[in-house]
């Protein structure tokens, strides 16, 4: 089973601080670690497990500059066979729609039974690129996949995670695209040895302009969405802050709970 996995390098925001620059269109990010988007990591793991069970090839693909190659190297180190980076100025200002057009053209040239990607990216949370790629390639897709089973005869069965813990079971004809939800598996860690071995694996760079897309289909002009400006949301903090140290804070919490009759 040949599988293409679409991955994205993201700034992990949990510990990061953000500022908007003078133009209002760029962010200054402080204290962020960059890594593979968490959802994509689960998608990669699922692809690797399928390959280990059924044979075939796993290709990781991303759209972005040089700096994104560290994420592809990581995919190779974990067990992907090949990696592709699509580069180009045409991507500047691109939204999910443009990224999907670029991925579609690049993936179209590969052989695949499945395309896996994360259900969303942690930075822009569009939850969109995968479905668009599938629609453009005219193949069936399912989103928010929590379980995947190969039925044979060109069909797969997946569980989709719906609201409230309910799961929807759907069967799809391959080739198909799935967007993977976190928790579907336990992604492996990479060893230093793995990274070293992976340095010999092929990482191909393609220019977006070479994929046969017209200029007006790329960049900001090819996008559905144009950024007007970023802003840091006003703190609408409702919480009354209880000052430390911890023992004093704990005392205050106990008082509040007592007042409300929550301690028996």
């Amino acid at each position: 089973m040949d599988i293409v996995v679409c991955v994205k390098r993201v700034a992990e925001h949990a510990e990061a601080e953000f500022e908007v620059d003078e133009t209002g269109k760029k962010l200054r990010i402080k204290g962020a670690a960059y890594d593979i988007n968490e959802w994509d990591d689960y998608a990669l793991e699922e692809a690797l497990r399928l390959k280990e069970r059924l044979g075939g090839k796993v290709t990781a693909i991303t759209v972005g500059g040089d700096e994104t190659e560290e994420v592809l190297r990581k995919c190779l180190a974990k067990g992907a066979d090949e990696a592709i980076r699509v580069d180009g100025e045409a991507i500047e200002g691109a939204d999910a729609y443009v990224i999907a057009k670029v991925l579609k053209e690049a993936i179209r040239q590969l052989s695949f039974d499945l395309i896996l990607t994360g259900a969303q990216a942690s930075d822009d949370s569009y939850a969109l690129v995968g479905q668009l790629v599938a629609e453009m390639l005219d193949i069936p897709y399912a989103t928010l996949v929590k379980k995947l089973e190969v039925l044979g005869e060109g069909w797969i069965k997946v569980h989709r995670e719906l609201e409230g813990g309910l799961e929807e079971i759907v069967e799809l004809k391959t080739p198909a695209l799935l967007t993977i939800q976190t928790g579907i598996n336990e992604p492996r860690y990479v060893s230093i040895m793995g990274i070293r071995r992976a340095s010999k694996k092929p990482l191909k760079v393609i220019k977006a302009e070479e994929l046969g897309l017209k200029r007006e289909e790329l960049g900001e002009q090819g996008s559905w969405l144009r950024l007007m400006n970023f802003y840091i949301p006003k703190v609408e903090r409702r919480a009354e802050l209880i000052e430390g140290p911890a023992d004093k804070a704990a005392q205050r919490i106990i008082e509040i709970l007592k007042e409300r009759g929550l301690l028996t």
Partner: protein, 323 residues
């Protein structure tokens, strides 16, 4: 100029979902929308059509056996035909497990620009402007959609309030559709979450942990606190993803919705999916190292500190009380 908005109703297992009422409220906030249409797809759900007529000018009721269960292939085919015929200026769906399956496909097929996960939608000089979050809500952006004859947006659940009923119900139009059997996608059915050992929704006191717990081995110390307080232990999504606690302990839009007397959130940053599941708790106290964590926007009291220090200090206080 065509100025109709088309809302795609969501229902599951015989009931309309809350998001539907929120979607129906959106067109009312856009002054240049003259009429709200609401598409209802399903099989023999006349009662839902009647209910929706209380909120829309016209309910377009697509009744077919092929639409009995949600199947994105069938739904997409039906909606593509409907939108081609009615040509609404704006199509509104939820940023939900259903909207995610439908909106991208419709956007490509109908060549309509799409903005997903919107918190707000405004129309300015015929263009559509949306507000979206980036980086888990640490950054916001105003974005404008490329000029087109029609647009699609998906609205984040809980972003706007539900619509109020109209004074007089709108009309219900049965739309005849000939649908083919889906070829590449078969809906098998649904699985309900298995009955749970501990029903956290029944507890008055919930102590909930998030990513800040760092390691599975730190769970017992917080569970002990929960017990001392007479409550139960719950958690946010990453804890279940990592397999540190079972799914029935998860609070949030894909887990349980809880309304306890006390919700003590420890090391939970407050992603909107989590907030959706606990925001109506009577008292929310949050402990987080990051003073900018969105959890402090919904908490009544906040402590910016290491959760383990606070847990130990609370236990100490509770022990004193017992003596």
């Amino acid at each position: 100029m065509r100025t109709e908005a088309l809302v795609i109703a969501e229902h599951r297992l015989g009931a309309l979902r809350d998001i539907t009422y929120e979607l129906l409220n959106l067109p009312r906030q856009l002054p240049d929308v003259s009429a709200t249409l609401c598409a209802l797809l399903g099989f023999n759900i006349d009662d839902l059509a009647k209910e929706l007529a209380n909120y829309a000018d016209e309910v377009l009721y697509l009744n077919s056996e092929h639409l009995k269960y949600f199947n994105s292939e069938a739904y997409n085919e039906a909606l593509t035909n409907l939108i081609k015929e009615r040509k609404p200026r704006l199509v509104v769906l939820g940023h939900t497990s259903m909207g995610m399956e439908l909106a991208p496909s419709l956007a490509v097929k109908l060549n309509m620009p799409l903005a997903t996960d919107c918190l707000d939608v405004k129309s300015i000089e015929g263009r559509l402007k949306v507000a979206r979050q980036f980086y888990g809500g640490k950054v916001m952006a105003d974005m404008v959609l490329r000029e087109a004859e029609g647009y699609i947006v998906t609205l984040r659940p809980g972003a706007i309030g539900p619509a109020k009923p109209r004074q007089t119900p709108g009309k219900i139009t049965k739309v005849d559709i000939a649908l083919s059997e889906p070829k590449a996608k078969r809906t098998v059915g649904y699985i309900e979450p298995p009955p749970t050992e501990v029903d956290i929704t029944r507890s008055n006191i919930i102590v909930s942990v998030g990513r800040g717990i760092k390691d599975a081995k730190n769970i017992p110390t917080v569970e002990e606190l929960a017990k001392m307080m007479g409550g139960v232990l719950a958690c946010s999504r990453p804890i279940v993803d990592k397999g540190w606690l079972p799914k029935d302990r998860q609070v949030g839009s894909s887990g349980k919705t809880v309304k306890p007397k006390l919700y003590l959130a420890l090391g939970i940053s407050g992603a909107f999916q989590h907030i959706m599941g606990m925001k109506d708790s009577e008292l929310i106290i949050a402990v987080n190292k990051d003073p900018n964590a969105p959890i402090f926007n919904v908490a009544h009291y906040g402590i910016v500190d290491d959760l383990f220090k606070v847990v130990e200090a609370l236990k100490e206080q509770l022990r004193k009380l017992k003596v």
